[in-house]
Structures are given as structure tokens and as C-alpha cells.
């Protein structure tokens, strides 16, 4: 059985070991931070010195703020997590560890005998979907099976009637993790009951929300859990074909999925006569091509069919008329991964987590101005404050918290006064944001909320497919208003105009993209109206971000006349003799901020 009892103690000792292992976190963010070089260097060191230690790859370990991460699994099962690794550091660490078992504590970020139970980054988390992510080798089906993987599928096929599986998923209380929170079991039931054949099972892995990387990490770190969940769904519904629609921007996830599908086929867990039963199921991968609207289910289906990803009117819902007009069940990555665990461990086990109406756990990608950003999984019912301050360690550089953005371009910004909001579908919706797929971007006093609203609207305006007039033109008009406000040209009635347009776009759009596009504007207007007013009435950006409303100046008392800013200024707006106080010509300055970034004496001020 899987070691779910590990609960918060993510780095508890392992019971079973096969000698010392060194695992490098090779998720896309780890690789982006340079983990591949660390992996290769570690491998080289071990090979050249013929050391009794296995160097392996694993998925995202979760502490993204300490990337690149390396875990040493000791002979006795103890685990040590090393952070901010570099190729230069890793070789001497391995050498010393193999010689006397010692590691310089400066390199350790967590471990069995270090900080685990007491570190709220771990103790407040509970990993169900991510239980294997960052611990197993995602390219090994054997390692997945050692954790209890495919036991749920075997149990489903051998022991349970398809209707009973649907009942179990219903009883677990699992709701769609893509954002809207529709009960998963109910969706399955509708698809099963719908007339028509063949039936399809589709996995929405088109994680389009900017600032979200939960599904990518799951696919990269534990691809088999998604395949198992889809196969269980197919068995329950009576489908024989499946598609995973995954973003082309996630090449590593695509490659690991391909490997996993091949392995599952070879092991008789996918393909013809799965586990020697009468049930057959195939999965194909379709790569998206960079269109946010394809996260909407009907647009996604159009894209799988090779068309432009245009949404269509619902009903009929995909459950009755989906891919090529046939009944189709669509869930996202996290939902299918949860299903694998539910069938393996039972509905009552899963519904033991969470709140009355939101069961289980939720994965979040914590990013932005937070000290400990990363990939986290928490039980439903935890508060935002606990996530941001206990797990995330609060705001970077001692700045003041301003808002947390949930739900991406369809969501909203939640202010400090609502940080006691609990994480469940209904409470989050009440704030005006949405649970969404799990992106959580933290903003501090230096983030301009009007500018954030403009940013999201620019995004949705760009990504609007153009089908509905209100979405296509309404968002454009809203964006123009926001642009003029942030440029210091806002007019008295702009706020009212934004509100009217927002309502029209919401009610005049066919799909979720348009219906939710005004949310970032509406929530910032609701909670940060004073910032809008400062821009419009006082021509002032309180966060000092909007270029049209700020100016740069060199503080004479701090400037040492080193000349670095002068040298770097792209428009020659800075004057001054060597060792003399420098000066910025406001007429020439384009407010690019390079002088601010390059001054080592803190002599550049933004006003």
C-alpha cells in the first residue's frame, strides 16, 4: 500500500531501502534552475569513483524556492533534502557523505532528522495527488507499482461493477479540479447513461492559467497516476478510447506521458484485454498549440478534432454529445490522479479529508512575491492565511501583503481582510474569485492592482476566440479604459463604464472565457477601488508601477558618481561627471528601470 500515513511528514523515513540513493528533482522548473547539470555531475562523480550510490531522477519535490533540489535517501531509510545545488557543490558533497556520512548543514533544507514535523511548509500539507511526485522515478512503472499504483485499476476490473465505481467516486465527494467543481461521479454517470457509442474519456491537461503549474508537475512527476485514473473512468463509463490534450509548452510532460503509456501497454495495463479481462482501452496524446480558450471543454474537443478551438453552446454537454458527437467524459489531470487514489483506498478514506461540501485535498502552485513558493497540496478547509504565512512563509523581503490572485484570468484578487477565508469551492466563490485550477499568485505593496486587472484583461482580450461580440469587443473596450487609467489619462466616469461593460461581457458570452473575463476587474474594483481612484483623480499610482504616473530621480545624498547608471541607460538620459552626483533628464527618461536595477548604492528613487 502507498505510504499515505506519511501525512504532513513528507520526508519521513522510508521503511524499504535499496542502499543509498541520490535523487535529483528533474521537473521543468528544476531543469530551468539548472538541475540537469547537477544530475549529470552527480552521475559523473559516482561513476568515476565507482561509489555505491544510485543517482536517479524524480519529479518536482515541491520546494521550488530552493531549486535545484537533491534528495539523499540513506541506507537506513532516512532522507535528506539539499537545496540550491550546483554542479560545483554536488561532487564534494557526495565525496564527503560517502567518506563519513556527514553533510554540511548549510546545504540542507529539510530531512528526516532535520526539519520536518516542525516545518510548517511540510506539516500543514497533506499529499494525496502529489504523494509520488518528487519521490519516485516518473519514468519507472515499477516504482509507481511499488507505491500501490495500478492496484486501484486491478481492484476495479476484477472486483467492482462499473456502476459501483461511479457510486464510489460519488461517495468520495470528489469535485472537478479544473476549477468549476462539478461532482466527478455525476459527470461519469451522465456519460455512462448517454446514448451513443463509442464513448470517449478525455483528460484536459491544457493548463492555460498563467501562474499555474500543478498539472505540469503532476504529469512530469507521476504520469501513471493520471493514466490509471483515466483507465478506471473508461472502465466505469464503458469507453474504449481516450485522449490526453496537453499543452505543447510542456515538452517534458509530453515525453513522460509517452513513456508511461508505452510502459502501461507493455505491462498489459492499457490496450487490448487489460489485465486479461474483456476491457480494452487506448490512450492517445494530442498536443495543444497555445490557445487559452482550449481549456474550455467544447473548444478543447474542437481542437482534438483538428479544428480551430472555438467553443460552442452548451447544452448539449460533452457527456451526451462530445468528441465527434459521441458521449465524452472530460476531467482534468488532478481529478484523474485523485481517482486512482480513491479507488485504491476507498471513498470513505478520501471523504475523511476536507470540508462538508469540498472533500479531499487541493494542489496549488504558490508563486509571486512569496518567500517559499512551490508546489503544495493541502486539505480543503485550510485558510488562505495558513497557506500564505505558514506554508509560504509570508511575503518576500519583509514587504506588506496586498492580495492573492486565485483562478487566473477567470478568477480574482482576494485582499488581506479576507485571508481567513477557507479553501473550499463555496467560500472562495463568495470572495468573487474562484477556486480555479490552483494557481495562487501572491502580490505585495509594490503590485499595482489596476495594472494587474489590465494585465489579465490584456490576456483574455488576446485569447478571446472572437466568436461572441461582447467577449471580442467588450474586453477590448475594457482594456482601452484600463490602459488609459494606468497611463494617467483616466476619466471621472471610467469606473462606472468598466462596471457596465463587465456585466455585459459576462452575460453576453457563450463560454467560460468571456463569462469570467471581467472577474479580475470586478474583484479589484470591489477591494481596491481606492487605487483606481488614486489613478483617476490624483493621477498617482500608489504602488509606483504605472509608467505614466511615475518618475525616476537620483538621490544626491546617496549617489557616489560611479557612472554605472549612465553607462547602462539605453537612451542617454543620465548626465554627470565621474565621482560627481548624477542626474536624470526627465524629458529623455523612458522609465525602463535599468538605472534602478544597476545602482548598487540605492541612489535611484521612484516617485
Amino acid at each position: 500500500m502507498a505510504s499515505f500515513s506519511q501525512g504532513g511528514g513528507v520526508l519521513k523515513k522510508r521503511s524499504k531501502t535499496e542502499g543509498t540513493r541520490l535523487k535529483v528533482g528533474l521537473g521543468a522548473c528544476g531543469i530551468a534552475a539548472g538541475a540537469m547539470n547537477v544530475f549529470e555531475e552527480a552521475r559523473k562523480t559516482v561513476e568515476e569513483n565507482d561509489l555505491p550510490i544510485r543517482v536517479e531522477r524524480t519529479g518536482c519535490i515541491g520546494m521550488c524556492h530552493h531549486e535545484p533540489l537533491v534528495e539523499i535517501e540513506e541506507k537506513d531509510g532516512g532522507r535528506i533534502l539539499l537545496g540550491e545545488m550546483t554542479p560545483e557543490k554536488i561532487a564534494p558533497i557526495i565525496a564527503q557523505y560517502m567518506e563519513n556520512g556527514h553533510i554540511d548543514p548549510d546545504n540542507i533544507v529539510a530531512g528526516t532528522d532535520y526539519i520536518t514535523e516542525n516545518d510548517p511548509f511540510f506539516s500543514k500539507q497533506y499529499r494525496i495527488v502529489l504523494s509520488n511526485c518528487g519521490t519516485i522515478n516518473p519514468e519507472s512503472i515499477d516504482e509507481y507499482r511499488e507505491t500501490g499504483g495500478y492496484e486501484g485499476l486491478a481492484r476495479a476490473i476484477r472486483e467492482i461493477d462499473p456502476d459501483e465505481i461511479i457510486r464510489e467516486v460519488l461517495d468520495s465527494g470528489l469535485r472537478g479540479r479544473g476549477g468549476a467543481g462539478f461532482p466527478t461521479g455525476l459527470k461519469w454517470k451522465f456519460t455512462k447513461q448517454a446514448a451513443g457509442s463509442p464513448k470517449y474519456v478525455v483528460c484536459n491537461a491544457d493548463e492555460g492559467d498563467p501562474g499555474a503549474f500543478m498539472d505540469r508537475s503532476t504529469l512530469e512527476g507521476d504520469p501513471h497516476s493520471v493514466i490509471e485514473g483515466m483507465t478506471i473512468a473508461a472502465y466505469a463509463i464503458g469507453a474504449s478510447d481516450g485522449y490526453i490534450y496537453v499543452r505543447a509548452e510542456y515538452p517534458l510532460a509530453v515525453s513522460r506521458l509517452k513513456t508511461a503509456i508505452r510502459q502501461a501497454n507493455e505491462a498489459g495495463l492499457l490496450g487490448e484485454h487489460i489485465l486479461e479481462s474483456d476491457f480494452s482501452f487506448d490512450i492517445r496524446i494530442k498536443e495543444g498549440a497555445g490557445a487559452f480558450v482550449c481549456g474550455e471543454e467544447t473548444a478543447l474537443l474542437a481542437s482534438i478534432e483538428g479544428e480551430r478551438g472555438l467553443p460552442r453552446l452548451r447544452p448539449p454537454f460533452p457527456a451526451t454529445k462530445g468528441l465527434w458527437g459521441k458521449p465524452t467524459n472530460i476531467n482534468n489531470v488532478e481529478t484523474y490522479a485523485s481517482v486512482s487514489r480513491i479507488i485504491q483506498n476507498g471513498a470513505s478514506w478520501y471523504s475523511g479529508f476536507g470540508t462538508e461540501k469540498s472533500k479531499g485535498t487541493k494542489v496549488f502552485a504558490l508563486a509571486g512575491k512569496i518567500r517559499k513558493g512551490g508546489l503544495i497540496e493541502v486539505p480543503m478547509g485550510i485558510t488562505l492565511k495558513e497557506i500564505i504565512y505558514d506554508i509560504g512563509g509570508g511575503i518576500k523581503e519583509g514587504k506588506r501583503f496586498k492580495a492573492v490572485q486565485m483562478g487566473g484570468p477567470s478568477g480574482g484578487c482576494i485582499p488581506e481582510s479576507l485571508l481567513d477565508t477557507t479553501i473550499d469551492y463555496d467560500s472562495v466563490t463568495k470572495t468573487g474569485a474562484i477556486m480555479g485550477s490552483g494557481g495562487m499568485v501572491v502580490m505585495d505593496e509594490e503590485t499595482c492592482m489596476v495594472e494587474v486587472a489590465r494585465f489579465f484583461l490584456e490576456f483574455t482580450q488576446n485569447e478571446s476566440c472572437g466568436k461572441c461580440t461582447f467577449c471580442r469587443i467588450g474586453t477590448k473596450r475594457m482594456l482601452e479604459i484600463l490602459e488609459r487609467i494606468t497611463n494617467g489619462l483616466g476619466r471621472e466616469d471610467d469606473i462606472e463604464r468598466l462596471e457596465t461593460l463587465a456585466q455585459s461581457v459576462k452575460s453576453g458570452s457563450l463560454c467560460g472565457l468571456g463569462q469570467t473575463a471581467p472577474n479580475p476587474v470586478l474583484t479589484t474594483l470591489r477591494y481596491f477601488r481606492d487605487e483606481y481612484e488614486a489613478h483617476i483623480k490624483e493621477k498617482r499610482c500608489p504602488a509606483k508601477q504605472c509608467r505614466g504616473l511615475i518618475s525616476y530621480r537620483i538621490l544626491p545624498e546617496e549617489c557616489v558618481g560611479c557612472g554605472v547608471c549612465l553607462k547602462n541607460c539605453p537612451v542617454d538620459a543620465i548626465r554627470g561627471e565621474k565621482k560627481q552626483v548624477h542626474e536624470i533628464d526627465p524629458k529623455k527618461c523612458i522609465k525602463c528601470g535599468i538605472c534602478l536595477d544597476s545602482c548598487r548604492f540605492g541612489a535611484v528613487e521612484v516617485r
Binding site: 493548463e207 492559467d209 498536443e287 497555445g290 478534432e305 508563486a367 487566473g408 539605453p570 525602463c592
Partner: protein, 160 residues
């Protein structure tokens, strides 16, 4: 000679994909993967292979952000415009790169060395703001760092 070899390769890529309408996007991806963009010639040949009007193929190719109809630069720069990168100043990074190279988003520099695009989110939020150059990640940037980076690449490109 080269021309025909190229044509042969193009056909090889196209005909290596399943002969089915729903694989249109996959075929476009395979071609772009090899050539960096979708040429007129390739669209004509795909049209021939799938028995679909060229207009339909253009319709799909222009709908999705991934596809380019012009050759990319030797250095393909992608600036992440996700939320986490945005709150950490990616708009300024994009401006700086565009200014240093004298090109706009979607453009290629006259010497063919650089092309500049944005991407909705690379998912590497922990090292925001992030850009990729030919797929390689550069994270925790600021305006100054990215200015130096581009200047360095320009020198490399000049061969100096």
C-alpha cells in the same frame, strides 16, 4: 538538388503523420518542429495530403499562438508573460529586449539573428521572471541582467 531534397524531406514529415483530418494540428507541429515555421510550400503540401483547402489550414495555423508563418531567428527568444513573471516585472524585460534588438513581439531582426515572442506561461514561476532562448531557461532576471544578456548574444551573433 537541395530544393528537391528539402521537398522530399517535407513530404516525408507530412506523410509520416496519420492520414486523417484530426491530425492537422499534429502535422503542422511536426513541420514547424523541423523547419521552425510553416512555409507556403508546406501548407500547400499538407492541403494536398489531407485533401483540405489551404484556407482551412491557414485558418487553423493562425488561430493557434504556436504557429509561425515566417522563419524564426537564429536566437529565438520567448518571454514568459505569466502572472508570477508579470508581478516581478516581465513587462519591463520584454520592453528592454525589444528595444535592444529593435524588434516587436512576433518579429525577427533584419539580420535574421533574433526573433522575439511571448508565451502565456512557462510554469517556471519559482524563478520568475523567466525567458527562454532556444529553449534554454534564464530566470530571476531584471532589466539590467537582460540588457547584458542580449548585448552578449549580439556580440556572439556578430562573430565578434
Amino acid at each position: 538538388m537541395t530544393q528537391s531534397t528539402e521537398e522530399f524531406m517535407l513530404d516525408d514529415i507530412i506523410r509520416g503523420c496519420p492520414h486523417s483530418r484530426d491530425y492537422l494540428i499534429s502535422i503542422l507541429q511536426a513541420v514547424q518542429d523541423r523547419y521552425g515555421y510553416l512555409s507556403r510550400e508546406s501548407i500547400y503540401r499538407i492541403s494536398d495530403y489531407l485533401d483540405l483547402p489551404e484556407s482551412k489550414i491557414y485558418g487553423v495555423a493562425t488561430f493557434y499562438n504556436q504557429f509561425r508563418l515566417k522563419p524564426p531567428g537564429k536566437f529565438q527568444i520567448h518571454v514568459c508573460r505569466g502572472t508570477a513573471c508579470h508581478v516581478k516585472g516581465s513587462a519591463g524585460i520584454l520592453d528592454t529586449i525589444g528595444r535592444e534588438l529593435g524588434i516587436e513581439v512576433g518579429g525577427t531582426s533584419k539580420d535574421g539573428l533574433f526573433s522575439l515572442d511571448t508565451v502565456a506561461c512557462l510554469g517556471a514561476c519559482s524563478i520568475a521572471p523567466v525567458i527562454t532562448i532556444n529553449g534554454k531557461f534564464y530566470g530571476r532576471l531584471d532589466n539590467k541582467k537582460v540588457q547584458s544578456l542580449v548585448k552578449k548574444l549580439k556580440r556572439q551573433g556578430d562573430g565578434t
